[in-house]
Symmetry: D4
Subunit: 252 residues, 8 copies
């Protein structure tokens, strides 16, 4: 459709309906709207069924309901909502059927899409306190059409726990490694697996953990190849990127 | 071959050559050597032709020559050497035919493998000073069998330069965005493209760039989805990860 | 009047009323009071109508009302009050007609001055969460006699949004670019426009945003010329400086 | 000229020389080149005589000579070169008449433009060690067509030195305040003057000066209104911004 | 028992019950479970009577009760619970006899083991505000079977207080030195004693104490030999390590 | 008295009551108790009338009352209590006549001592928000027997306010300069006065003030001679040190 | 002389030579030069014999010789030069008799003034590596007319070394405590002595000493009263302040 | 001998040779020298054969030779010298037979003592670049009478390398884990072994390794119990502490 409008302008020029000066003005004023570089719109148009995402932090339940309703009315099937607490979820639940994951503080309205990724995404954590961030990642990935395997509490201070789970790790298409404290899990995982490892530092810990900075630095310095890092506690970002990697074969 | 040794132990047990007690000891002592969890060896064994990599920093030319010679004698076709300066390269060049990239301070002995990746990797930089890190990434990716498109000096303070190069960016399988200073390139690229973006902060800059920390923080906070970050100046790590992503369809 | 007192001392010396020794003492003791270097008073005296400003943080509504009343009684037409929450605004509203902007947590008593600046000030933000800081800047600028154009949510991870708004940006006299997270907006804006860009980092974000430090560093490292930076969340400072720049032709 | 090309495409469409499909491709591929949003080119085209600027750091004298020669051949009258040391300057001086300022490590080829700014720019420093950064700012401003007054060594630990120079400070169109150590000069100047103050922290100092971070933080926290900050040691950036502010009345 | 399972597999191989291929798979899949490298399980099995430890932070009283009950049912004699506040302790106290130390926010269910360490552990603090962390260390050590001497409020700004207590310090098997603020206690103690000194920085203080970072850095820079450091406020870790050192002669 | 005990031991040795071996043990065990190096006790014994000080932070009103009562019963005339809020002060006021300074969150029981210092202490602040810290310093100094002159809100962004108060500054025996934000006051004061200047950074400010770190660094880098710094918000420490300097002539 | 000029203006006004308007202008333009607030000049004029000080860092030997010669010609008796290395000292020694202290990288031309302070200044260090900074402090103090006692290598990790030197510490008028690493010396000294303690952190150390930041933070957090801190390695500043304190009784 | 002097004073008192007043003075002035609290001297006197240690950094070869000669003349058998480079070692080698370890930049004169520790000390490293620090630790431990097992290049990104070496790790009396970059080795080792683990961060790495701070923070946050940390690159400190732990049974 965006192409159409350029076509239309040019046709109007060709037919003499529009003067060249007017066409120049029009092209100059709205190049992007007209030329359609906007990724989001473009690709949403192509990949039907992908859920819209609402970042819930700082929004009232009413605002979230409003945005979600508008999306659903436009024909959106699934709406993913991140960073909402139980109270907000309850409020939203009054008007929409929300599937809410309390640990990950994330929920979605509508059906989960069928997994259509190239393989499986493994989400693993160092400890039990890292699970909320991991759940945000896992549910995000599931809502974006991925099969997810969870391996929680397999941190490096008990490396046998990780080694007992070699099979999913060795066969994953992409691994999300979530850890706070010393943040060493991605290094060990990255040394064992040969898939991309997305490291997610968490703010779990106290004192010299510096709110997750210690884990973040540790991960950035990983000796293992194939490891990259996202922001502290950014489970959503990790899940989104993992899904992108897991759908690469779908890319034209 | 690693499997063989477990087989051999078990066969020896089956045949009575080895007592159960001795077998337990052997299995306990060298479980990993025997069971073959070591990724590197295992996969090197499978994926013939992949170059071995020598991290040149802190090694003398003699040491590098020694390691490279041993690798080549073992049948390795291509040897990639990172972080070597011109003088070391000249020294190595006396005994081996080294293809040396001075800007990226990286070189390789032996032929480049044929590109066999799933698509193209784009390596782009914010400024000209970021090119050394970008070249390290690009040559690494090429040496690992990838087709690479370079887009240098397309930083965000002249965003039209980037927008003039939409085609390679929109069609890349994976994008490496290298930038120092404000480190904003990955955000803009990540907002335009729908491939994974590997952000590489560089230590280019002065004062409040804090040796690349400013760019690093900026990239970790990217609003664009699909962006992850590696260590400052870690061109090699970005090239390796991009290659891994670009070869995912080859994974069994 | 301050000049008068020096005159008076000198006249008294001339006339012999005051001895030279006494005059020296007097001049030494109160040079500034007498010579009138105090900018604020001086210029307030000249530029009638400029609003007085009350920094509301840490003041009770009663204190604010007291100060504002005193100002208005002295003939001040407009009183600008920054950093007040809704409750304080309501309290103040009981005795004065306060025009309160809740998002910017800023308000004013009395009429807005007619815009008398040299051009237009553009206030733009990277995201919607940056709007409170932007509103503080915008209302400050309006209260100081400027025409303000707001461009919100035009962040660099969707650069087409910014490019759709080239006209106000290219014609602005001064641009205030407000952004948290990666803080890249001022660089992109500064690369497009040729007006001074005042960058305002916000404390929006989490984890490695370090309460706005990431955005601050990013902005200080901007590759674009013409960009300078104020403190994190300092919308008032940006609005004040922009107004100063927009009134430069009024300077004698 | 950029407009011409859009005109030409449209005329070619109108005349039937070019098909609509080809026109769409052309417009999509090179929107910015064609539509002329690129500030630098556009404005250079309009404001003839403005010097081109070469950032000398990391460039060899030969590279600088090459770039400068190309610029001069294109008809550029003045070429400003920043961050070059004496040896590089001597080398450049062999082929071009370079006016070199050793303290500011900055020089220019060709005539200085006539000052055409709206007023005077004051460049002041806290100490004598800050002078190199101040000279970079001052020469930049002069090369961009500004009248510059230098007030050096007027730091706050001897505030009388500053107060002796009230006249230029009170009448300046824009003030650049350069200081290391405690970085308090911009606050004092900003409290006295009513022009925009561009604060430049310098890396002068030792220990807790943290390479200029102390001065930078101090300046960002300035209580004085009208103060904004650029990167540590960024004399060029301050000079460029000051010139932009001092030429605002020239803006259409 | 873990050895048994490997034996059993090998015996089954020897007897022909299990094929070599199946044995390889089994060995590969669960090497650690079978080979028994897991320290915790292994050693718990050997050293009967050692208390299990529950890290109470982030757990509800119900969860703690549940875990503790399970442990006790399994035959565990003593259960140590760290980081629980008074309210949680009261809740737990309803169902189990909890010996609660409010200052150290630590408690245990069941009898304290008889001290069986090689010597005495001294726990000393710089000030009274460091006592909560010290108590966490002391109770941990006691629950792990150590005799503990407490020397509180013997900080370096009144060094005579420390010197009055030379006897326990000179005869201790291991010393835990807990201090906030300048964190100098371990240096002075380490200079006097010839036992290992475990330094525990506390988050006590304000301003430039940076939440314990000042004390942490101070301790890491200790000039005294024999000093090592654990995380800020990590009394448990210090108590555990001290106990390990104090039981070294029990190690086979 | 402490001397007595050594005397007594020696006399007992001389008289044969105590064996040399026992005397050695006794001297070795309690050298400091016996030899009386403890400053506090020693000097308190000499300088009768000096108030005892209670650091109120982290103590309940009951604890404070208990400590104060004990002190008063021992004959202490004045008891100074720092860091207590209004509620605690009210509680203490029920049993003792407490003179409470709410802004400084400090109070004392008993009469203020007559000022017996060598001169006057000036306490000045940059802004009104720094006054609480300044009051803590001022009341501490007064309670320790000093005459105090307060000069509040004389910050460097309005340097005339400071210059109007040259007389007390030029004649002070010691100056306490309290400032947050850019922390420049001590530099300006130290450049004008020739008395020791004790700089107290405050945690006033937001964003890049980093909780007072910006002011702290600024003060440590002061170009003015005679300036030294205490911890952020440490009004008590500054008042105590100023009193010590102001009583130096009383030292034997 | 400065007073003279005000007198002269006033006399000229009185005699009618100068009009009142001209006098106002003159007084306004040069208030400080004329009114003589400049501390340095003023007090130098009064306290004859005090050495002038040249900060040698960043100055060539020629520049230093030039400045020193001018000072000596003006009648200055002693010239103190800080931060000069051996080579510069040798160069200066060719034309002037320089008494050079190599460890402290400090020297002076002319005679040392007779000590005229109120008491003795103790300069103590934690280790031998801190001696250069201590010597800078000690020589500065001596050159400003103070008697100095040096106590080197009395750090807290061997507290008996300090306690052996109680006499000078207990009787000092002011103590300079110089220490790197954990920086605990001022706390111990401040707890023993009742004189002002000026703490000087040094950049001695490695790793987590962070170039002296660890010692700096430690000192700022000192529990001992009467301690204040100067910049890292700032021996000169400590010596100057100590001298100021030691000459307070000389102040009118 | 130190005891002797107290005895002698007391005997002189007993015999009437010395008055009680003189004895008090003597005891007060030199309590530590006389009473023998000085640990180093005391224990050196008892444990004959322990090497003296010279910290070579910042000392000239001549100084080192001087100190070592004096030690040897006093009867010291072995002298350990840390932090000396090859050139210094060669210089020392001219006069003494120095056993020099170039990688660890450490050497000793005289024979190595026979190992007399309670068990074995394991020194392991994450990578080959960490070996210099590890050698400093290992040679220190050997020179202090310990049996040392080296396990180098067993970092967590190839965890099988570590697991192949379970035997020495499980049987060590104390483990020194040396690692840079992500610093995760101590966590994995601490999770496997049940001996004290001394973690040594190294400054190996670049960018976000921040000179070893990343590894340091990682180690301080270790989830494994029994881990404590020394300063970055402090191999000596780790070796000394390990030896102390390994000789605890020798303590009376």
């Amino acid at each position: 459709m965006s192409k159409d409008s350029v076509y239309q302008i040019l046709e109007a020029v060709q037919s003499g309906e529009v003067s060249i000066a007017d066409a120049v003005t029009k092209l100059k004023m709205e190049p992007f709207q007209d030329l359609g570089f906007a990724k989001v719109d473009h690709h949403r148009a192509i990949r039907q069924g992908t859920p819209e995402i609402i970042y819930g932090a700082g929004k009232t339940p009413e605002q979230i309901v409003g945005i979600a309703s508008a999306m659903l009315e436009r024909g959106q099937e699934t709406v993913l909502i991140t960073r909402i607490d139980r109270a907000a979820a309850d409020e939203i639940g009054k008007t929409h059927e929300l599937c809410y994951n309390e640990r990950g503080r994330i929920g979605y309205i509508g059906p989960l899409p069928e997994p259509d990724g190239d393989g499986t995404i493994v989400v693993c954590t160092g400890g039990t306190s890292d699970i909320p961030v991991a759940e945000e990642a896992a549910v995000t990935a599931e809502a974006l059409g991925n099969r997810v395997t969870r391996l929680y509490d397999v941190g490096v201070s008990g490396v046998h726990r990780l080694l007992r789970n070699m099979e999913p790790i060795m066969t994953a298409r992409c691994i999300i490694a979530v850890a706070g404290m010393e943040g060493a899990l991605p290094s060990v995982v990255g040394g064992l697996a040969d898939s991309p490892v997305i490291a997610v530092p968490t703010s779990v810990g106290y004192g010299a953990s510096l709110g997750g900075i210690a884990a973040l630095l540790s991960m950035l310095n990983s000796c293992a190849s194939g490891v990259s890092v996202v922001n502290i506690d950014n489970g959503f970002g990790a899940g989104y990127l993992a899904s992108m990697i897991n759908h690469l074969s779908k890319k034209p």
